[in-house]
């Protein structure tokens, strides 16, 4: 299947600062992809480029279009929530629905109303009167009522409490996601999204550090809890990261045969957060 997002040598500079440094990535349809990186790694720059909000160097096609040149057409098939707190304070809920219904050919009003009916929010309320969690619900209802092929979420739960965050991701997975859709999420809170992702892309200092599916993670990466007496032997197998927890040492290996590693200790597949920490601090060392 053709890739939904194809980027080759994508570069974005702000003066002397290079926010994206020849990033190359492919995202296929039907996936839930996490674009993960520390603050200032270039996540937002990558998303801005993908959404046509900024110009860039290099090649980039999203749904077969050049985003910066074709943003208007792209937004017919792609929608995004860049931080949930951006609905204007003066806008009323019913006005928001009317407006989006008026300008978006793929918006389904009944769906938006259905989603809002599950909440306490009434149409005459203005955004400034709503809590941040309620605003999220409105924005999510507006966005999920659009029949889009690609949904992009940039730090979507920033500033939300744990209940609102959980509700946000539950709604996303249960009410929205199906095989015709693709979701791209950026976040620096890995734990929050790792259970729903199918693919992960790590980005650090403007470069793509890792781009893999979670199925591949299991075969490619192994973490071994090594006992002290076997530590030297295990180290000889070239782990890329080492972590000391409560007197135990966990070594992280990439593309090393699991059968060989089993001799050193207990094996497990690293979680996305483990991988993230390992990959990023390991790469820096």
């Amino acid at each position: 299947m053709a890739a939904l997002i194809e980027a080759k040598d994508l570069t974005k500079k702000y003066g002397a600062h290079v926010a994206l440094d020849r990033a190359t990535l492919n995202i296929e349809a039907g996936r839930i992809v996490g674009l993960i990186g520390p603050n200032g790694a270039g996540k937002t720059s990558a998303l801005r480029a993908i959404l046509g909000l900024t110009n860039y160097e290099g090649q980039l096609t999203v749904l077969g279009r050049e985003p910066f040149r074709d943003r208007t057409a792209l937004m017919n098939e792609c929608c995004f929530i860049a931080d949930v707190a951006v609905l204007p304070s003066w806008l009323r809920v019913d006005q928001a629905i009317d407006f989006v219904a008026g300008v978006h050919p793929r918006f389904r009003r009944d769906r938006a109303l259905g989603l809002l009916a599950k909440t306490q929010i009434t149409g005459k309320r203005r955004m400034r009167e709503l809590s941040k969690g309620m605003k999220t619900q409105v924005h999510l209802a507006l966005t999920m009522a659009i029949d889009a092929k690609l949904l992009v979420l940039d730090e979507p739960t920033l500033g939300l409490d744990i209940l609102a965050r959980r509700a946000f991701y539950d709604a996303l997975v249960n009410d929205y996601m199906d095989e015709t859709r693709t979701i791209l999420i950026t976040t620096h809170q890995v734990e929050e999204v790792e259970n729903l992702l199918t693919d992960i892309i790590f980005i650090d200092r403007g470069r793509i550090v890792l781009d893999t599916s979670l199925e591949d993670v299991a075969t490619r990466f192994t973490a071994v809890a090594v006992t002290a007496d076997r530590l030297e032997a295990a180290r000889a197998a070239k782990p890329y990261y080492e972590r000391h927890i409560l007197g135990k040492v966990v070594l992280y290996f990439e593309s090393v045969d699991a059968g060989k590693l089993a001799a050193f200790g207990e094996l497990h597949t690293p979680s996305v957060s483990d991988l993230f920490v390992a990959k990023l601090s390991g790469g820096a060392a």
Binding site: L53, T54, A73, L74, D83, L91, F99, V100, G102, V103
Partner: protein, 289 residues
């Protein structure tokens, strides 16, 4: 309804001041007409009545025009800045609406629709005011301040004013929108500072006043380009005639052939278009602050 209509509605939702200010201003004028200390001169001849009615409507209209100019200036300066400041631009840009359309609709609202709202409010206020003052002066209704001819004159004058203002001030509007799309803060300051610095720079280093003259001419020159000399018309019109032609007719005042053939008009409009294209380009590249 199409996208443009929805964009216009959105401007009226966001900027309720567009109609609240003229309504409140009109209500204040009507209160003044109702309870204010007004001395209404005795009007006897039809010519006097026509003149008084025309003058009354012109005065009301001029007051609305001044308020409208101030508000429209503020609107244009704020319109592209407001949603960058509160980051709602990220919501608007998630919808399939081009930046060119967004900018042009805001220009249309600032230069045509806001003046039309003020025009309607001025008209309603002048009519109600005339009605009230006629009763207070104990004149028979419909004869003192209600003069259909004078009323038609005002409609012509207003429409002409709206069209000429929109074309003449296009470079100013373009500049305000450019600043609005560009500045990270203090739009008011940024709109005034660069021209001021350029003016001082030219004065100090070249000893000339070209920028100052050009700007002053643009800000103040509309009456000279778009209208005939009012004093001249007045003396011509009143000379030796005493049967109703005393009042100035709108057609004598306005100078469309002069305005629409003036190079100044179209050079300014061209500069305005360049600035607006610049504002659109900035709108495409700059998102939240």
């Amino acid at each position: 309804m199409n996208t443009s209509t929805w964009l216009i509605r959105r401007e009226f939702w966001e900027n309720r001041a567009i109609w609240v200010i003229p309504v409140v201003f009109g209500a204040m004028l009507i209160l003044a007409a109702l309870f204010g200390q007004v001395s209404i001169p005795k009007l006897t001849t039809p010519a006097e009545m026509h003149e008084a009615a025309g003058a009354f409507q012109v005065v009301v209209g001029a007051m609305f025009y001044v308020v409208m100019s101030v508000y429209a200036t503020w609107y244009l300066l704020d319109c592209l800045y407001a949603d960058r400041r509160d980051r709602s631009i990220l919501f608007w840009k998630s919808l399939p609406i081009s930046d060119a359309k967004t900018v042009l609709i805001k220009l249309l609202v600032g230069m045509i629709l806001i003046p039309l709202v003020y025009f309607a409010a001025a008209d309603a206020t002048a009519l109600m005011g005339a009605f009230i003052l006629s009763i207070r002066a104990r004149a028979s209704l419909g004869s003192a301040l209600w003069q259909p001819e004078a009323w038609w004159d005002i409609q012509v004058l207003w429409m002409y004013c709206i069209i000429t203002t929109a074309i003449w001030y296009l470079p100013i509007a373009g500049w305000l929108m450019l600043v609005s799309a560009w500045a990270k803060r203090a739009v008011m300051l940024w709109s005034v500072l660069p021209p001021l610095v350029a003016y001082i720079f030219e004065r100090v280093f070249f000893g000339t006043h070209l920028i100052g003259h050009t700007l002053t001419r643009r800000l103040m020159g509309l009456p000279a380009v778009a209208f005939n000399n009012a004093k001249h018309v007045w003396t011509q019109g009143s000379a030796g005639v005493d049967n109703g032609s005393l009042a100035i007719r709108a057609w004598d005042l306005i100078n469309p052939s002069g305005f629409f053939t003036s190079a100044e008009t179209w050079i300014g409009a061209a500069v305005g278009i360049v600035l607006i294209v610049g504002a659109i380009q900035l709108r495409m590249r700059r998102s939240e602050i």
